[in-house]
């Protein structure tokens, strides 16, 4: 029982971590919360359902379709709703935030309009396949989710620390002006960041669809708020913080449902925010300097 819950918690947590990574990348570079990230995630989930369930494509093709669609959405988000507001005189620093809220409402309603309000089942050919190890049952879906999440997190970490583009992203996140005098085309770096973050959201969407066997137009809001809670918990703009924070939240929710009161499941994220803001407002991995740098 305990081991099974642990597996459930890690599976859920790794998805949360990927959602939170999308938030944290955009926050790091642009200094804003992308409120449309949850809805981009939701679109990714729908693309997964439509391609694999309705069109009967294989799962890997569904993933690629979700990545392409959400990456393109990320590009549109940056070029149509964020860039026009950047560096203009008289534009409030809240304007890009409001702009992303607008995009999130638009995406939710568009999905509602196109696919209807209800839940759509997400069927994978191996939904019921499971492995028994002793008394512990592990579903193949869980293993797939876990493996994809870990690969994605490792890939991102290596990309950020080893490649030229990754270093340019980190330099831009620390200081836009400094990055530009070092020769970084910061405009391109910003576009790239939003596109990558959105594609990660899309992947997470497909994973959630697989984990819960269903998608709905409203799923973006809940996961978006949780993603937000995670980056506050881990430290705004901190990649490691997003990963650890995601796992903590996933485990906390799972254990609360298993051993406590399932009614509080969605509350735990916000209880954690309250505690962390009281004890360590900069987040587990956040530094004071990083906040002052903005």
């Amino acid at each position: 029982m305990l081991l099974e819950q642990l597996v459930n918690g890690i599976t859920l947590g790794s998805i949360y971590a990927i959602v939170a990574l999308g938030f944290t990348l955009v926050f790091g570079v642009l200094g804003i919360i992308n409120m449309a990230h949850g809805e981009i995630f939701m679109v990714g989930a729908y693309v997964g359902v439509m391609t694999t369930g309705v069109l009967g494509w294989p799962l890997w093709l569904g993933f690629i379709a979700a990545i392409l669609v959400t990456a393109f959405l990320g590009y549109l988000l940056e070029s149509l709703t964020l860039r026009p507001l950047r560096g203009k005189k008289g534009v409030s620093h809240l304007a890009p935030l409001i702009s992303t809220i607008g995009v999130s409402i638009f995406l939710e309603n568009m999905t509602h309009h196109l696919f209807g309000a209800g839940n759509k089942p997400f069927r994978t050919p191996f939904a019921q396949l499971s492995i028994e190890i002793g008394s512990v049952t592990i579903y193949v879906v869980q293993i797939i989710i876990f493996v994809i999440s870990i690969l994605l997190m490792m890939g991102l970490s290596i990309w950020l620390s080893k490649t030229k583009a990754g270093k340019a992203l980190r330099a831009t996140a620390e200081n836009l002006e400094t990055a530009s005098i070092l020769g970084v085309d910061t405009k391109r770096t910003i576009i790239m960041t939003v596109v990558i973050a959105s594609a990660m959201g899309g992947i997470a969407g497909v994973l959630v669809g697989m984990a819960f066997n269903s998608v709905s137009p409203q799923m973006g809001l809940a996961i978006g708020l949780k993603g937000l809670a995670i980056i506050i918990l881990g430290g705004m703009g901190n990649v490691k913080g997003a990963m650890v924070g995601g796992l903590i939240l996933g485990l906390a929710e799972t254990f609360l449902v298993a051993y406590g009161d399932s009614g509080y499941r969605d509350a735990i994220a916000f209880i954690m925010i309250i505690i962390i803001l009281l004890l360590k407002p900069q987040g587990i991995f956040g530094s004071k300097a990083a906040q002052e740098g903005r």
Binding site: K167, E174, E177, S180, I181, L182, G183, V184, A289
Partner: protein, 240 residues
């Protein structure tokens, strides 16, 4: 090499530069002096494209580069070490150096980084440390080393001696002279007028957005107006 003609730069409604013109000849050290708020850093930022002038033009190697972005100017060979050093403090020393060579595509980057670390042994010693943990003087060395890795034709230094101990200041000025001797032209903004004029070939003095005095550095060192305002009467003192 660099020709700045009549630039006027504004911060919102406030005019920071009221028609600045200056010339930097190839192979020389030119220094731009003046008190706090005179507009020295604004001039530097306008040259590299961090700020856009309302009027006037910046020409580099005979080409009009007014309004280009900083990354475009870097590719043409103009590197800036900004005021306050602008170290990437959450990245390691070696990653900062890597970023210095960001725009380069040649195969000598590894070798050049190795060479720079030989020249600044403290950077080699601390290469995997976060740059934010370095002392002020070490950060300044890193900032200069990083800018040199971009292989600039013209290096702009904005108050490299600011906030550093006198011994380290002397080091920094020695390095600037070495940079010139290695063939890189330098435009140096300083408050430490005496030290700057000693290594410079030509100097400009700014006051409230205008250039009020210019001339050969050796002449400026003896100009009574400068001795009075910037060098102080105690000619033996070398401190800032």
């Amino acid at each position: 090499m660099l020709k700045v003609s009549n630039i006027e730069t504004f911060y919102g409604q406030i005019q920071a530069l009221k028609g600045i013109s200056l010339n930097v000849e190839e192979g020389k050290i030119v220094t731009l002096l003046g008190a706090n708020g005179a507009g020295k850093s604004t001039t530097m930022k306008t040259i590299v494209g961090l700020l856009k002038p309302k009027k006037g033009s910046v020409d580099f190697l005979g080409e009009n580069v007014t309004g280009l972005r900083p990354d475009q100017l870097l590719r043409k060979g103009v590197a800036l070490v900004p005021e306050g050093r602008a170290i990437l403090s959450s990245m390691s020393v070696i990653e900062n150096l890597d970023m210095g060579a960001y725009h380069r595509k040649d195969k000598n980057i590894e070798r050049d980084i190795e060479e720079v670390m030989e020249r600044f042994p403290i950077l080699k010693e601390r290469q995997s440390q976060l740059a934010g943990t370095l002392s002020g003087g070490q950060q300044q060395m890193l900032a200069i080393a990083r800018a040199l890795l971009s292989k600039p034709k013209l290096l702009l230094l904005d108050e490299p001696s600011m906030g550093l101990a006198p011994l380290i200041v002397a080091d920094i000025f020695k390095i600037i002279r070495e940079i010139k001797d290695a063939g890189t032209t330098v435009l140096l903004v300083e408050q430490n007028a005496k030290q700057a004029l000693k290594i410079a070939d030509y100097g400009y003095v700014m006051e409230t957005g205008k250039i009020i005095i210019e001339g050969k550095a050796s002449n400026l060192l003896e100009d009574p107006r400068i001795v009075e305002a910037y060098l102080g009467r105690k000619s033996t003192s070398t401190s800032a």
